[in-house]
Amino acid sequence: MAGAQATQEMNVATPPLDERSKYLRRLVVRTLHGGERGHVGSSMSLVEIMRVLYDDILRFRADEPMWRWRDRMILSKGHGCIAQYVMLAEKGFIPYEALDTFCRRDSILGGHPEAGKILGVEASTGSLGHGLSYGVGMALAARIDRRDSRIIVVMGDGEINEGSVWEAALCAGKHKLSNLTAVIDYNKVQSAGPTREVQDLEPLLDKWRAFNFAAVEVDGHDVEALRKVFRGLPLAADQPSAVICHTVKGKGIAFAENDANWHHKSKIGKDVIARLYAALE
């Protein structure tokens, strides 16, 4: 079980969060403040993945969200949506003020992202285990169209408990969809507790490889390392890619890191917001 050990024991020295990562996290806190609720830990672990994808990798036009040649990014772990909302504001898809309305009755920004309401959101997610199949369909469509759009599906570790994910993985492998990439936010803590206790995923790298993906691991908070991996996509010419991002649940908020109790919080008061901001100084 060398793969299992390699995956679980990957323990690289994550560089400290830079100013942009802290700034983006403050926008996440601003959004949590707006809704007085939200998936804190699940969003914080995603920040660098979303940052690098939107800053450096994805092709898109904010003024033409349905531009045919764009890359498609599906946030299949829809509960991490605040990390995506923040980047959509950064790139001009939505106004920053929308963040302050998070989960409010007439907001465009719900607790899970909805296509058709939010420019730049490709598919409505929230129910887990749907995104990779959408990605398979989109990747096949791009192939039929002779279009070089890349399709990137970001999933959570708890999410890939779902059997539908592995149905989709079989299918993607069979069709050799090199234009499709599965990204796993592997923060090792799902809603009920540690993934190792709730539903062990190891050996995770071997699993994706066994499903005919070209798979690599990366420190999901190391911006340079993420850039390098994503710029190297596809990992193989005739296989879909899987990028397992080792992350920390609640990354950047010391008192919330690796704590399943911070997976989701409701009734977030001003005192908690102040503590979250203070943790990011």
């Binding site: 409505s124 199949s133 959408y134 398979v136 369909g137 791009a142 149905e167 989709a168």
Partner: protein, 316 residues
């Protein structure tokens, strides 16, 4: 009906480059010509209904019109959440073709009997639910599917079904077809879907011989329900009888009675709903044998109608 439906997919694919076929694990050689002629638009993805629905959704998000085919129970209840979220929430033009609607797979037992497909499909927002009565009507339906913007569930019967539909009646999704008109307004109205329309036409013959004035309305589109036509026939009727090859809970009869209760209020006519009881079928044998078990043969439909008329008279 099934062969006609699948052949129509190939026919539509030749006409429209958006058409894609996706099967799960169907017969070898299925649509072989289509596979040969347009391999990028023909898929057989194995026993993985959840993925097949999501994959169809992804293709539809990119402008394609996927026609997905597998056994009715597996394309409805097996992947119900995918149908709800992937297709209905996104309101995508994916077509779900369910083999063996109702009691077709009688010898195979309850895992293969789609007794609640109509009920669960019609509960989903944006879903269109259809059950045509014969192969010729299937051609008419399939010709309409290219331009229908929403997801459609297409319930298939066994095949080799008697042709009772008529070209001159035309076909529009969401428009019911009066197959037989009673002479008087105050008459018995049999309202049916799928091949139960055929049984109702035969039942109407029996009732006519017994002196009853009967109308038969064929509702090939259960949702959206043709409220205008159903109300036109039900208003003032002596008795409304709904007949379906499926559960009475939430199914076709429920759709009709929901409408009548909502729109007719105190003028509600007496209603008899014929369908399956709230239980998994326990018997095997032939579909026709199960029809008999559940009172769905023409003679039984006629007899139950007469009985209801008598009960109604007693109450009056």
């Amino acid at each position: 009906m099934r062969a006609t439906c699948l052949n129509m997919i190939y026919d539509l694919a030749k006409r429209d480059s958006r058409v894609i076929f996706i099967g799960s694990d169907l017969s070898p050689g299925l649509l072989a010509e289509m596979k040969k002629e347009m391999p990028e638009r023909w898929y057989m993805e194995g026993v993985s209904e959840a993925n097949v629905i999501g994959m169809a959704a992804g293709l539809a998000m990119e402008g394609y019109i996927p026609y997905v085919n597998t056994i009715a129970t597996f394309i409805t209840r097996r992947c119900y959440e995918q149908v709800a979220v992937d297709l209905c929430l996104h309101d995508l033009p994916v077509r779900l073709i369910g083999n063996g609607g109702g009691l077709v797979y009688a010898p195979l037992g309850p895992t293969h009997l789609a007794i609640e497909d109509i009920a669960i499909m019609r509960a989903l927002p944006n879903m269109t639910v259809t059950a045509v009565c014969d192969a010729k009507e299937m051609v008419r339906l399939m010709n309409c599917t290219l331009d229908w913007p929403q997801p459609i569930y297409i319930r298939l019967a066994k095949g080799g079904d008697p042709i009772v539909s008529r070209e001159e009646n035309g076909f529009t999704i969401g428009k019911a077809i009066p197959m037989l008109r009673a002479r008087a307004r105050r008459s018995v109205v049999l309202i049916a879907t799928g091949i139960m329309t055929t049984n109702c036409l035969a039942a109407a013959d029996l009732l006519a011989k017994d002196g009853h004035d009967v109308s038969v309305v064929h509702v090939h589109t259960i949702k959206p329900l043709d409220e205008e036509t159903v109300l036109e026939f039900a208003r003032g009727a002596e008795l409304v009888v709904t007949v379906e090859e499926g559960t009475r809970i939430g199914g076709f009869g429920s759709a009709v009675t929901d409408l009548l209760v909502e729109k007719l209020g105190v003028a509600l006519p007496p209603v008899l709903r014929i369908g399956l009881a709230d239980a998994f079928p326990q018997k095997y044998g032939l579909q026709e044998e199960l029809f008999e078990l559940y009172g769905l043969t023409p003679a039984q439909i006629a007899a139950r109608t007469v009985k209801s008329l008598k009960v109604k008279d007693k109450v009056a």
